[in-house]
Structure formats: structure tokens, C-alpha cells
């Protein structure tokens, strides 16, 4: 049923993201989601969280630290997470703000803009288990309104979904061609054509939708204070 639902809503999968461009990177602060300051203005480093994740039969302790470099870039580092091994996989560094003052893109839903500040909520994962996150990291980047140069919102079709539909369409065309033209398949072409057509038609429709999802350009909106 889920597949039927997904296919019937083939063209409606879009993803919308937002990123903030900041004038003064030193004014950006990082908090945990409960409001605890992790990286206040001027602070070069802070602890975001500590915990343990399971790696096969042992528990591995980890500590995630936020670091602000000389250019003002903010990144999260976790050495123990980078060393994670099967059955989990980890990430050692996640950048939240680059030296040019551009934040990591977040879902539009997670970006709140008001008259005093722009808040970007991130749901990050530094150790990925099987379908779950073994070291999740909910953090909040806050930019004072006076330091916001622009908020760039972007909406585009889910390209991965488009490629999947395109592959499905290509496979359908290949299967239909085989059914209709392969010498090994019994019956005349006239007898085989309806079966081939039945495979080809939905494949072409879904492949077309996939092509649309892949080729449709992203739409962008720029908000300036």
C-alpha cells in the first residue's frame, strides 16, 4: 500500500530547505535545544553533549564539542564518533557555519525568523545505527537579526525519488522490449504486444514523472531584513 501511495503521489515529493547568510560570524551562538549555551558570543569551544553508543558488544563513550575557528566557522567534532565501526557508522565533523557566514542548510520548517533573531534548529546524527541514531544531537544556531544578511529559502523536487522513478521507467522499457522482441519468448509479436504494452505504459508514465522530478529547476526566495 505504501508503494502504491508513493507511486500515486509520484510528482508531489518536494524538499524545502533554508540557509542563513550572516554578516558577522562571531555574533552567532550555539545552544542545545533545552536552551543551554554551548557556544556563546566570543567562546571558541564548548561541549555539546556526551553519551555512549553500542558497538557490537561494547559501549563506546563519546563527546561532541563545538568549535569556532579564527574565520568564525562553527563545526561539531566527535573523534569517538568518527571511529565508530560495524554495525554503526559515524561522522567525525559536521560544519554548521562556514567562514563566509553561510549556515548549513536546514529544512525550512526548522528555520524560525522573527524580528529579533533567526533560529535554526538542527537534528544531527553523528553515529548512525540501523534505522536509528545512536548519537543524536539536537542543537540550535541563533543569529541576531542585525547580523542576518539574508535567508535563502529553496524548494526543489526530491531528486533521489526522481532518479528512482527514472530507473523504474527504464527497467519497464527494457522488460517490455524483452517481452515483445526477444526470440526466446513464445507467441507471435501480435500476441506478445499487449503484455509488453501493459508493462511499457506505466513505466513510461512513471519514467516521465521521474524525468520531471530530475529536471525541474529549484525555486528560490530570498528574504532580507
Amino acid at each position: 500500500m505504501a508503494v502504491a501511495l508513493a507511486l500515486s503521489c509520484a510528482g508531489c515529493f518536494e524538499v524545502s530547505t533554508a540557509e542563513v547568510r550572516v554578516r558577522d560570524t562571531s555574533a552567532v551562538t550555539l545552544e542545545s535545544r533545552d536552551g543551554t549555551d554551548v557556544l556563546p558570543v566570543g567562546a571558541p569551544e564548548g561541549v555539546v553533549g556526551r553519551g555512549e553508543y553500542w558497538e557490537m558488544l561494547s559501549r563506546v563513550p563519546y563527546e561532541v564539542r563545538a568549535r569556532r575557528d579564527a574565520a568564525g566557522a562553527i563545526e561539531l567534532r566527535c573523534d569517538a564518533c568518527a571511529a565508530a565501526e560495524f554495525p554503526v557508522s559515524g561522522t567525525g565533523v559536521i560544519g554548521l557555519l562556514d567562514g563566509q557566514g553561510r549556515t548549513r542548510a536546514a529544512p525550512s520548517w526548522s528555520v524560525a525568523v522573527d524580528s529579533t533573531r533567526v533560529v535554526v534548529d538542527y537534528e544531527l546524527c553523528m553515529v548512525q545505527g540501523h534505522r536509528t541514531c545512536a548519537a543524536d544531537l539536537p542543537v540550535r544556531l541563533t543569529v541576531p537579526a542585525r547580523d542576518v544578511a539574508e535567508v535563502r529559502r529553496r524548494i526543489e523536487p526530491l531528486r533521489l525519488w526522481g532518479y528512482a522513478l527514472l530507473a523504474f521507467g527504464a527497467a519497464s522499457v527494457a522488460a517490455a522490449t524483452y517481452v515483445m522482441l526477444a526470440p526466446g519468448v513464445g507467441g507471435s509479436f501480435a500476441e506478445r504486444a499487449p503484455w509488453g504494452g501493459a508493462v511499457l505504459a506505466p513505466g513510461l508514465v512513471l519514467g516521465g514523472i521521474g524525468l520531471w522530478e530530475v529536471l525541474t529547476p529549484a525555486r528560490e526566495q530570498i528574504w532580507t531584513p
Binding site: 500500500m1 501511495l5 503521489c9 525555486r219
Partner: protein, 197 residues
């Protein structure tokens, strides 16, 4: 021809000079001008409050849209924004990738107003519609299975299986419909207009 030209002259005379009336074009002009002046004056008289428009959480590219009279919707600003708006116009929160809110008007006041909105997701709305419609079709299918007459030679096991399948279809259909309706409800764009403190 002479009578026609005479006729024309006569009619003109009756309208313009003969009985001391204003020319028709002038009368029409005066009427239109007075109407326009009245509209302009009433527009000038109506309050134009300063409004803070914010959409705290929203998917897509949210904007405030404005409609004057019978004209179409046009973008008033990219939210959040602060601007002076006419209370005579209609507004809504919309934009690419955002479910349009219901149209709303501003209260006739000069006070500083605040419009707070929460943007709804078209994807959630579309999935909700699909689930609701698909669920109803599923439930109807279950009902049809139950209503189908039993085969005279069917065993009791086959009959009970038919009932189980029918009830299963109805239950799954109703569940999907409920989820779909809830998804549609939660995908609405809500707007709250209040006086700023």
C-alpha cells in the same frame, strides 16, 4: 439626409444648449470623477495600520498575498515583514510549497497589528487526500466483499475467511481514512491576527 442632420442638431441642442443642460460626456465625466473621488476619500479615510507579519515555522516559500476588490492575488511581501496595509483589502498567507490560508481581513484600527501564521505542507495535504480517498475505496471494497453472496458450495472456513477479509479491508480503510483526514486537518495554514502589545 436633411432631416437626419436636422435631427442631430436638434438632439445636440436639446442636450447642450437648447434647455441649458450639460453635455452628456461632461455629465458622465462628472459622475465618474465624483465616484472616484468618493472611493479615494473613503480609502484615504480608512485606517492603514502597521502590521507585523510572521510565519514562525513553514515549509516552502511563504509570502503574504493581497487582493483588492475583484483583482487577483498579488504578493505583498516575503514574510516575515512589517508594512502598512489597507483594512479594505483581503489577505492570505500563501506561496510556493505552502498551503494557502483562508482569506482574512484586518480589523479597522490604526493600532499596530500582528499577523502570526503557521504554514501548512502541501505534501502532507496531498498525502492526506490520497489516504482519505484510498481508505474510503478500501473500506468500500471490504463492504462489497461482505455483501457478496456466498458460494452455495463454500465451506464454513471459506465463509469465515471472507468475513475476516471483508472486516480487515474495512478496518484498514477506516484507519487510512482517519489518518488522511487528520493529515489534511494538520496541513492547513493557520493565521492569527492580534493587536501588537
Amino acid at each position: 439626409m436633411p432631416s437626419l442632420s436636422h435631427d442631430r442638431r436638434g438632439r445636440r441642442g436639446a442636450l447642450s444648449r437648447g434647455r441649458g443642460h450639460l453635455p452628456r460626456w461632461l455629465l458622465a465625466g462628472v459622475v465618474i470623477a465624483s465616484r472616484l473621488t468618493a472611493v479615494t476619500l473613503s480609502r484615504a479615510d480608512e485606517p492603514r495600520p502597521v502590521v507585523d507579519v510572521s510565519v514562525l515555522r513553514s515549509p516552502g516559500l511563504p509570502v503574504l498575498e493581497q487582493r483588492s476588490g475583484d483583482a487577483g492575488w498579488r504578493t505583498a511581501c516575503v514574510v516575515p515583514c512589517t508594512l502598512r496595509l489597507s483594512v479594505a483589502d483581503e489577505y492570505r498567507i500563501g506561496g510556493d510549497g505552502v498551503v494557502d490560508s483562508s482569506p482574512f481581513r484586518l480589523p479597522a484600527t490604526d493600532e499596530h497589528l500582528r499577523v502570526e501564521a503557521r504554514g501548512g505542507s502541501p505534501l502532507l495535504r496531498d498525502v492526506g487526500t490520497l489516504l482519505a480517498v484510498g481508505g474510503m475505496a478500501f473500506a468500500a471494497g471490504g463492504g462489497a466483499i461482505l455483501l457478496l453472496p456466498d458460494d452455495a458450495n463454500a465451506s464454513s472456513d471459506a465463509r469465515s475467511s471472507k468475513v475476516v477479509v471483508g472486516i480487515g479491508f474495512i478496518a484498514m480503510g477506516l484507519l487510512a481514512t482517519t489518518v488522511g483526514v487528520l493529515a489534511r486537518l494538520f496541513s492547513d495554514t493557520s493565521v492569527r491576527v492580534s493587536v501588537a502589545p
